[in-house]
């Protein structure tokens, strides 16, 4: 049993604190506490000589636990812990207490009481110091290899970035060709050039010049060192941990050897099978052996296995000059070992056939923007001409309908953000090449919010595009004229229009790609209520997920244009690089640990963990126990709060430590005030208390503060213990309801507080003695007011009367 | 025999005995027994909902209570009643707060809404309970030459989220019930559009214009008649043509029939028993087209 020697360093912050606190009184009190070896007073301990002072004193006094009372602990903590570690202490044996913001500045008018509170706060730290355990640094392997799921322009660019940085990159694409939406869209705004265009690689790829951009087919991506491209492939399983994932890939057969095919088209010429070409909106037919636009990768044909007659026919095999066709190719399964995963699966067009009043799917002349793009593409089914799908006659009148299935509570509530620009782009393209075509756009609002976007709206008006502010109620078909009739109110003119059209283009909503839900399950990452992958924080971490090592970019999180997709691709690549670059992931073991003896085969904790860090593992035929993954666990303690058998604890914040602090902080009360114990979280909630201190906002000193990792850690027992140890009231101060840094914590503790109130009622104690407060940093005044109100309430209620039955 | 509580509403007994008698005869022949309950009142359709929407819920609920007490589902011949009673029935079944409020009002009349019965339009009963096969088997007269402009009106289908009778954009139940009789249900412009009936009495010029459009569209498409399933629509289009004659000096002579009349004739009811003299626009051509 180690002989505990607790050392305390008190700073009076350049004598500022000494104006309120009686340091002599404080010091003599602390010296009397068993276990305390020394109490040293100084002016600042976190700069220069102060830190050296700490190292020197620790060594001299052979202290093995230290408490440093300091101002600006968030700045000083790091340096102080480094200094203590230099003196041989484990990092967890160092506690830095914010005496200034907790005990002095909010209480400058009551120095005696402030000193009492300081005594209580430091006593709590001392009692906690006695039962601290060391926390070790863990190292996990980080394989410098990345899986990129999705071969659209964001996936390709993220893959390029990482390959340029020397990583091994596996780019996996479900379709037989790369490009995603870019392979069908023709041109992208705001540059009006080919959509299938990406950045030039930064690394030295011999003949590839370093210009701003390159067509995919001549970008050299296939030659970049370390970049492996898998088309016709899908991720079917993901095992392992961040930094060390095992990926199972399923590669469907292409039936054509990529190394041999020269794209000569002889096979397609002899192929006897013709099927509708869904890539070209079924406006034309293709063969069972086919390719799409030529500027894409790989420049290889593919066999449609549903249409091909294989060995019954073999005409293509006979004519292929390089013997590239392999009809017996089978599905291949490969495993990869990667350190991080980037999800770049993009979005797709919503199917508007559910919007029955628009007759999509019924009237061939009602098409979507992507389908129009195929027509406008010179490589497309009509060679760039716009024709009526029914009789192939040239189109004279086109009507665009905006917000089809977007901003619509019946289908998709959100604005899909790019459809106004797409329609404007198309309208401009049409009017430029075919100025005699009448183009109208029916809209609710025109949204051209990005850089260089407003110019499109201006250009469209200049070219004579008509804008009708009204949402059509119905598209009908006049059998006599074979024209479509768009029934819309021009709300600006307050006139009902029946617009005749040869072609109606629906600017339909953009929704998550096919298989997003399935992939989310495989990766164990979350999707939002619209089905898009959920980013870690919309404001600050748009390309990360809550799960370490899995990143997002492009349209997979929300519809976006090419510039935004590119931006996110580069961001995701950077994040993956940061994560894996040192070859190892270093982490303090500030994690949860399960007491396997107590663990009771239930499923509460894995479900409660916001990081999916807990797994149920079989120990024998009958039993499972929960096991915490140290690499995934973020040490919030929500599992601790949730476990019905109290079988989990946090290594860096044991429940025994909380109990010790509770008992100690409530034991100092010479003025006999009605003590309130305020549990606050380590994020927004706690920050509001710091803020109250920083702004010298006054509140009563009977409010004693204990910081916990997350309010979700708190159990009903903790509240009852507080009362048992002398609190007259309990405040729980945490983040906003929808802003918990660990997502669920604040919501869970709210429910437990309700339960605690009911329990108190049964004991004959007023339930309003325990309350929840949601605050953020700038709401220090809200915390102070709450403290005052609660104090007044408790003074009115008087001390707790434990009823005879309790 | 399946029994239903027949809810007649106000307009049918007051103006359209031909609708009532054809419905009673046809439904009886097809195995549906109609029970007339004591004490029913107006269903509180849109004219009353316009004055007090919550009171209308209570009035409709009162009538539902009578059927609940008789342990019978309700059958209606009027789409207005169908909509009013169904909306009340479904709303109160799903909304606890409203149900409590309405039951407090109903307690004054000694009733309590329990939500134990269903409200059905007679087309629903024909399609779901009788079934097309049985109707087809009961046909004794040919309607093969008849080109019918079917008009379901508004409140059979809408508000579709509550009524759930048929797809409001692609309704097919009614047309199938016409075709099962052997007649042809033809396309005509703006088939699903309202007849404007509710505007009669205070905006007659507008109401008449809307009704006229319907008559013209059906005629243009070559319809022999328009067939309705709501007394309001029937009056607007049948009596409406008399008013069109005096207002616009136009004679359209497009017969308007109730579906139940067509059904009765098809399954062999004698035309003399159907009080067909109540049609303002004479329907002799139609009778001639039916054997």
């Amino acid at each position: 049993m180690e002989n505990l020697k607790i050392g305390i360093f008190l700073s009076d912050c350049g004598k500022a604190l000494a104006e309120t606190l009686d340091f002599d009184n404080l010091t003599s009190f602390l010296k009397e506490v068993p276990g305390v070896t020394f109490v040293e007073k100084g002016t600042e301990f976190w700069k220069g000589s102060g830190l050296q002072e700490i190292v020197k004193t620790i060594k001299e006094q052979k202290a093995n636990r230290i408490i440093v009372a300091e101002s600006l602990p968030k700045l000083s903590e790091i340096k102080i812990v480094e200094a203590a570690e230099a003196a041989g202490l484990n990092q967890n044996f160092v506690q830095v207490i914010d005496l200034k913001d907790y005990c002095v500045w909010p209480h400058r008018n009551v120095p005696l009481e402030a000193t009492e509170k300081a005594k209580a706060t430091l006593l709590a730290a001392i009692e906690r110091a006695k039962i601290l355990d060391p926390i070790h640094k863990l190292e996990f392997p980080a394989v410098k290899s990345v899986l990129v799921i999705g071969g659209g322009i964001s996936g390709i660019q993220a893959a390029e970035d990482l390959a340029d940085l020397g990583f091994e990159v596996h780019l996996v694409e479900k379709a037989p060709f790369l490009g995603g939406i870019a392979a069908r869209a023709g041109r992208f705004f705001p540059t009006d050039d080919c959509a299938a265009c990406i950045q030039s690689p930064a690394s030295d790829v011999k003949t590839i010049t370093h210009t701003s951009r390159k067509c995919i087919y001549r970008s050299g991506i296939a030659a970049i060192q370390g970049l492996k491209i898998y088309t016709n492939s899908q991720v079917v399983k993901v095992d392992g941990e961040p930094g060390n994932y095992r990926i199972t890939l399923e590669k469907k057969p292409r039936y054509i050897n990529e190394a041999k095919c020269i794209s000569c088209n002889l096979c397609a010429e002899v192929c006897p099978v013709e099927v509708p070409d869904e890539y070209n909106v079924n406006l034309v037919e293709r063969k069972a052996i086919y390719t799409i636009i030529p500027n894409i990768h790989p420049p290889t044909y593919v066999i449609d296995e549903k249409a091909c007659k294989f060995h019954e026919c073999e005409k293509c095999v006979q004519v292929c000059p390089t013997k590239a066709i392999e009809m017996d190719e089978k599905t291949e399964t490969t495993t990869l070992n990667v350190g991080a995963i980037i999800v770049a699966t993009g979005f797709k067009e919503y199917d508007p056939s559910v919007i029955k009043e628009y007759h999509y799917g019924e009237y061939p002349a009602v098409v979507t923007n992507l389908e129009l793009a195929r027509m406008l593409d010179a490589f497309g089914p009509t060679g760039g001409k716009i024709i009526r799908p029914s009789d192939r006659k040239p189109v004279r009148r086109i009507v665009f309908v905006q917000c089809v299935g977007s901003r619509d509570k019946r289908w998709n509530n959100y604005c899909s953000s790019i459809c106004c620009m797409i329609s404007l782009k198309h309208a401009i393209m049409i009017k430029t090449v075919f100025p005699e075509v009448d183009v109208s756009i029916c809209y609710i609002d025109i949204r051209t919010t990005g850089r260089e976007h407003e110019e499109y709206y201006e250009k469209a008006r200049e070219l004579g595009v008509k804008f009708v502010k009204g949402r059509p109620t119905e598209i009908s078909h006049d059998p006599e004229s074979d024209l479509l009739i768009v029934d819309v109110e021009d709300s600006l003119l307050r006139r009902f229009l029946e617009l005749e059209a040869d072609l109606v283009v629906l600017a339909t909503a953009m929704v998550p790609s096919e298989d997003t839900e399935n992939l989310a399950k495989i990766l164990q990452i979350e999707t939002d209520e619209d089905g898009f992958f959920k980013e870690y924080n919309a404001k600050l971490r748009p390309t990360e997920t809550k799960k370490r090592g899995i990143f997002l970019c492009g349209g997979s999180t929300f519809p976006k244009d090419a510039p935004s997709s590119s931006l996110q691709a580069h961001s995701a690549a950077l994040k993956a690089f940061k994560f894996l670059n040192t070859g190892k992931i270093v982490k303090d073991q500030k994690t949860a640990v399960v007491n396997e003896e107590y663990c009771g085969d239930c499923e509460f904790c894995p479900v409660s963990c916001p990081y999916n860090a807990i797994e149920l593992v079989k120990v024998d035929e009958k039993h499972v126990v929960a096991k915490v993954s140290d690499i995934l666990c973020e040490g919030c303690g929500i599992c601790v709060g949730t476990c019905p058998l109290n079988a989990i604890d946090l290594r860096h914040f044991k429940q025994s430590e909380l109990r010790a602090q509770t008992k100690a902080i409530l034991s100092v009360n010479k003025q006999n005030k009605p003590l309130i114990l305020a549990f606050c979280c380590s994020e927004c909630g706690g920050a509001s208390i710091d803020s109250a201190g920083m702004t010298m906002t006054n509140y009563p000193t009977n409010v004693r503060i204990i910081k916990v990792p997350c309010t979700g850690y708190l159990r009903i027992e903790h509240f009852l213990e507080a009362i048992e140890y002398g609190a007259q009231g309990v405040m729980v101060v945490g983040c906003m309801n929808n802003g918990c840094h660990h997502e669920e914590g604040i919501k869970k503790v709210e429910k437990r507080i309700e339960a605690a109130k009911n329990l108190l009622k049964e004991y004959g104690i007023e339930p309003e003695r325990i309350e929840l407060f949601n605050t953020i940093f700038i709401e220090g005044d809200k915390f102070a007011e709450a403290a005052r109100v609660m104090t007044e309430k408790l003074e009115k209620l008087g001390p707790i009367q434990f009823s005879k039955e309790s | 025999m399946t029994s239903y509580a027949l809810f007649l509403g106000c307009t049918i007994p007051a103006r359209l005995p031909n609708y009532e008698i054809s419905a009673r005869k046809a439904l009886n022949r097809l195995g549906i027994s109609l029970v007339d309950l004591e004490g029913m009142t107006c269903c509180a359709p849109p004219p009353i909902q316009s004055l007090d929407l919550e009171a209308s819920l209570a009035i409709a609920a009162y009538n539902i209570c009578l059927s609940e007490e008789a342990n019978l589902d309700i059958i209606t011949l009027c789409s207005g009643c169908f909509e009013s009673l169904t909306v009340a029935n479904e709303t109160l079944k799903q909304n606890e707060k409203l149900k409590t409020k309405v039951n407090r009002i109903l307690s004054e009349a000694g009733k309590e809404f329990k939500g134990s019965i269903k409200v059905k339009h007679y087309l629903q009963v024909l399609s779901e309970n009788v079934g097309k096969e049985k109707i087809r088997a009961s046909i004794t007269r040919k309607l093969a030459n008849l080109k019918v402009a079917s008009f379901s009106g508004c409140h059979l289908l809408r508000p579709s989220k509550i009524l759930k009778f048929d797809d409001p954009e692609r309704p097919h139940v009614y047309d199938e019930l016409i075709e099962v009789l052997g007649a042809r249900s033809i396309w005509y412009r703006n088939k699903q559009k309202c007849c404007g009936g509710l505007l009669r009495g205070h905006a007659d010029d507008v109401a008449l214009a809307i009704a006229r459009e319907k008559i013209v569209n059906a005629s243009k498409a070559g319809a022999d008649c328009i067939v309705t399933i709501c007394p309001f629509c029937y009056l607007t289009l049948d009596l409406g043509q008399v008013i069109m004659k005096s207002t616009y000096q136009e004679e359209h002579s497009l017969p308007i029939l109730h579906y139940s009349e067509l059904l009765s004739l098809a399954i062999g009811v004698d035309a003399k028993e159907l009080a067909l003299e109540f049609h303002k626009v004479k329907i002799d051509n139609i009778l001639n087209k039916i054997e």
Binding site: - | G39, S50, I59, A109, G110, H155, P168, E169, K193
Partner: protein, 169 residues
């Protein structure tokens, strides 16, 4: 005629707090309702989108002193098509309920109300019709539950509606 600031803020709230009117504030003026409306297509006097605009801008007087809100034929086509799930037809019921309470309603509605209160039906059955029923073989009509109805109307305050003739048709 512009309302005072106070009235303008509260009119849409007033409508939203009435049964049937709850969804009015969702409206973003797309015009789908108007182009779905059979009445709007037949007369300039009625345009649902425009009336909602007036409500949202707080023009209470203008909304109630015209008889426009009584021109909705309750066909519910607007409500089916509205992309914001505004219960358009029901909002018109709510607006009419407010107007009726203040005695602003067309004559015929007063007649419907009187018929309901006095006879339990909105269209009375004439003696002629009763005899006709007998002639053609229809069963005699059951009695109307007028007593029960009177109690219900009293409990809801329906019988206290000011049925004054204020609005020109």
């Amino acid at each position: 005629m512009m309302e005072t600031k106070e009235a303008s803020i509260s009119f849409s709230k007033e409508v939203a707090s009435k049964y049937g009117g709850e969804t009015i504030t969702l409206c973003y003026q797309c015009g789908t309702c108007s182009s779905s409306c059979p009445v709007a297509k037949a007369t300039e006097k009625f345009n649902p989108r425009e009336i909602f605009r007036l409500v949202l801008l707080g023009e209470r007087q203008e909304v109630f002193y015209s008889n426009a809100i009584w021109l909705c034929s309750s066909c519910y086509n607007c409500q089916e098509r509205c992309p914001q799930t505004v219960e358009v037809a029901d909002v018109f019921f709510a607006l009419r309920n407010i107007a009726a309470k203040e005695g602003l309603l067309p004559n015929i509605y007063s007649e419907f109300a009187s018929a309901l209160i006095n006879e339990g039906r909105i269209v009375p059955v004439s003696k002629f019709l009763e005899r006709k029923r007998e002639q053609i073989g229809l069963p005699p009509l059951k009695t109307t539950g007028i007593d029960a109805l009177k109690k219900i109307l009293a409990a809801t305050g329906f019988d206290k509606l000011q049925l004054k003739k204020e609005v020109e048709s």
